[in-house]
Symmetry: C2
Subunit: 339 residues, 2 copies
């Protein structure tokens, strides 16, 4: 059904190797033969069997990408960047989701490894998740690059953002608005949240506002989606205790959206009762009511850069490389929700 090199060879009275060379534009083959072969191939819709090619060459021309959840604006934007570069570089990408679950993460790595990929771009669950598995990949000549969640022990290229700085500026902004009781809602053990918490604390410190552990909520992402409930419970609890915050800084895209939802549900006016700002890459920030103040990450750029770095490694597998950690800047978009 599907035509192969041999078929072409037979039809043209050539050897399979000549056909192979002709299709690969080898200098050992005459122009006429090349033309003959290529025309025939085109006419008969010859498509090379990548599987066989891979088996022979060892190159799969595919890259594994492990993200925690692709239905997240931030992640989707990274993915867009990744895809742009992957197309230029003629690499296919195989996307897997870890859902912030270390078991699924390990499984994804395993699947990709079995299937054969030339490299792996991953946003790991946390500091040391799947460390041995990733190291094993590297030792087998499959380069790994970390993206977004760059606080990981693995020794390699890492592309993320300046989390401390982003959090610091957002918090500073709230402080500058005269807010005194700042709450921080974050995720537990997500690999980037520590730095954001540090930024939060640092901004408080510069304003001589003591950090109040009661105003910190670290949501658990390992279980199903109880996050919204956790947030609601915490806020209600603060209200009941007469400890209402006057501003909230949210650490991730997902948390920001959910917090907004909880406040709406509780009929808490934003920003008059509680001001809100958070990490968010939603393209609809301006369309929300009130328009959302956000720390925006250069997600598209991160995706592009991360993938480029990975391709570099793939292409010079055997040379010594000085690994870099790149932290891009975030942008602070002030809108109504924090004013």
């Amino acid at each position: 059904m599907r035509i192969t090199l041999k078929d072409i060879a037979k039809a043209l009275n050539l050897s399979a190797s000549s056909v192979s060379k002709a299709l690969n534009d080898s200098h050992e083959i005459s122009q006429e033969t090349k033309k003959l072969v290529k025309d025939y191939a085109e006419k008969h819709h010859f498509r090379i069997n990548k599987i066989a090619q891979t088996l022979k060459t060892g190159k799969t021309y595919s890259i594994g990408v492990i993200l925690f959840n692709i239905s997240n604006n931030f992640v989707a934007q990274m993915l867009d960047g990744i895809q742009v570069v992957s197309e230029q570089a003629k690499y296919d990408i195989i996307i897997m989701q870890s859902r912030n679950n270390e078991l699924l993460e390990k499984k994804a790595i395993e699947v990709l490894r079995n299937r054969g990929v030339d490299g792996l771009l991953i946003s790991p669950i946390n500091h040391q998740s799947s460390e041995t598995e990733l190291r094993a990949l590297q030792e087998n000549g499959i380069p790994v690059v970390l993206i977004d969640r760059i606080f990981h022990n693995l020794h390699t290229h890492k592309v993320g953002v300046n989390n401390f700085e982003g959090a610091y500026r957002a918090t500073k902004h709230l402080v500058d608005q005269g807010k005194k009781r700042l709450m921080h809602i974050t995720g537990k053990d997500l690999g980037i949240t520590e730095e954001r918490l540090n930024g939060f604390k640092a901004a408080l410190a510069t304003a001589n506002i003591p950090f109040h552990p009661d105003l910190l909520l670290a949501c658990d992402y390992t279980e199903g989606s109880q996050v919204e409930i956790e947030i609601k419970r915490k806020i209600v609890q603060l209200l009941d205790a007469g400890q209402k915050p006057d501003a909230i800084f949210c650490a991730t895209d997902d948390i920001t959206s959910r917090t907004l939802g909880v406040l709406a549900e509780l009929n808490i006016a934003v920003p008059t009762e509680i001001a809100l700002i958070g990490f968010s890459n939603t393209p609809y920030a301006h369309a929300l009511n009130p328009a959302l103040s956000a720390v925006v990450q250069p997600a598209f750029e991160m995706g592009k850069l991360g993938f480029q770095k990975l391709i570099e490694l793939v292409n010079k597998k055997h040379q010594e490389v000085a690994f870099e950690t790149i932290a891009l800047d975030t942008e602070l978009h002030i809108r109504k929700s924090s004013l």
Copy 2:
């Protein structure tokens, strides 16, 4: 570096074929030998080379999935359903985005075909997009299943929703609220929008409200993201002409979100000035201000069902199958934006 069947065979003084059979639990191999082989394999971290296996067997155990844009709640939810089933079925999925661009769609099909997939799940751009390419796949024994965009000429299983019904009920709801000047914003040539338009018209008809072409906007999705600008221009134009609608029904997830944004930008109060309802699967519908009334599609179910249907085809490639078209029901969620 990586251990192969032969290595095991050599180490155990067996033949490669026996090792292969042992690992595949063939009945021709003795229990002791199996244990021997499996233990050795485990101990030495043997992982089978899927590439070689595929070359030999012709089965890739991977399925191509072509969607138009994965950073869309609705699509992301479908994808979740797809992934759940794919893991059960032990198939990998390779995700590609067509971005509602027929050239990219064709390219994606080509890539998947070259790379080798056992089947294709696709949400095609429109009625006849890539029809010949898809048919060619089928003729080469690679089954195709259509999802979401089920109004396509291809003869196969199709899994989508009852678009007419969903649109009809949403529009009917607006009519029941006493709305008279209903606007419909939709996408041009997206394969599902005709039926939604028909549902819109039918609901108007039952209320004896004439359909007004001026109150219809079909956005062009083939070019970059001018959609929001188009919507804004149209609404401003209607306002200027004193033709302000009193309600809007939006046909897709993306259009609903964007329309909401435009209305906010134009400082048009929802629902008092203009009521709004639209197809949307955003998990934050209740968290928007005002909470968004929406026609919700069973996206997760669609993904699951579509993938299941595809796997069925993959597994009985040579039997005659009676193709089905399945239209799941949508849910109407009435919230504040349309009241």
